[in-house]
Point group: C2
Chain length 147, copies 2
């Protein structure tokens, strides 16, 4: 005679999705105080990174880079515009598109922002190589899930 069956064979700790979900929240909680210094939320920080990489992008381009839709980005970008970090203006050549450009203030923020990633890497307790490997594995996972 065996032990009584467990009430459920779904084990939360086996869920890859839950590991990712809870790690994402943990990152957010870690970033919050660091980004408060810059006056940015986490998604806003990601938008800034894309614009620091290359300025003058449309809403659609930013969304493609961050895997976000315009209904998410539009209000977020308006808040960033109100904060004086970016400018939003219709492309004269195609008035459907809104182009985002860094303001001087937005460009200047890069200097302070450089301090953030080393800070975060330290908190992960991973070497650069381990972080690289994990980033690549999870990137591949995202690609697989998005099919």
């Amino acid at each position: 005679m065996t032990a009584p069956a467990p009430p459920s064979d779904l084990k939360l700790d086996d869920f890859l999705c839950f590991a990712v979900y809870s790690a994402s929240h943990a990152f957010n909680r870690l970033y919050k105080p660091l980004l408060d210094e810059l006056g940015l939320t986490y998604p806003q920080y990601l938008v800034m990174v894309t614009l620091w990489e290359r300025d003058d992008r449309t809403v659609g381009e930013i969304g493609e880079r961050l895997f976000l839709e315009s209904n998410t980005l539009t209000p977020l970008l308006k808040r960033m515009e109100a904060a004086g970090l970016v400018s939003r203006s219709r492309d004269p050549a195609d008035e459907r598109q809104v182009r985002l450009r860094l303001t001087d203030e937005g460009r200047a923020l890069l200097d302070k922002a450089r301090q953030v990633p080393p800070c975060v890497l330290e908190a992960t307790n991973l070497s650069s190589e381990e972080a690289r490997s994990l980033t690549d594995q999870i990137g591949a996972l995202r690609t697989a899930l998005s099919r």
Copy 2:
């Protein structure tokens, strides 16, 4: 003479946090249609998993398991109560605590829910061993970040 310096040395694709963040969204988008069948959102599904593992928990216990605060859980649990999946009642022995119990309907949902994880594993394009390894790595990451 070297090539002109790039406008930014912050590369989005190097960010472990962004990999996790975007993978979390990708999971959500994958789960959405599957959980719609069960009438659950993703965080609600996680609550159900914790209750299927062990029934009759307080709000605080569920929050500890899922790394969520009461201000997130309270309205979520009220919606689940309204949907007839759980009951909420004050613990007579300590009236500060609210105990969550599965209804018959909530317990019955487990059968349909069992179909979800295999479906998701397939979408990850990972073997069980690879998924296990990645889950553990990311779990360790979450632990490190939460210090």
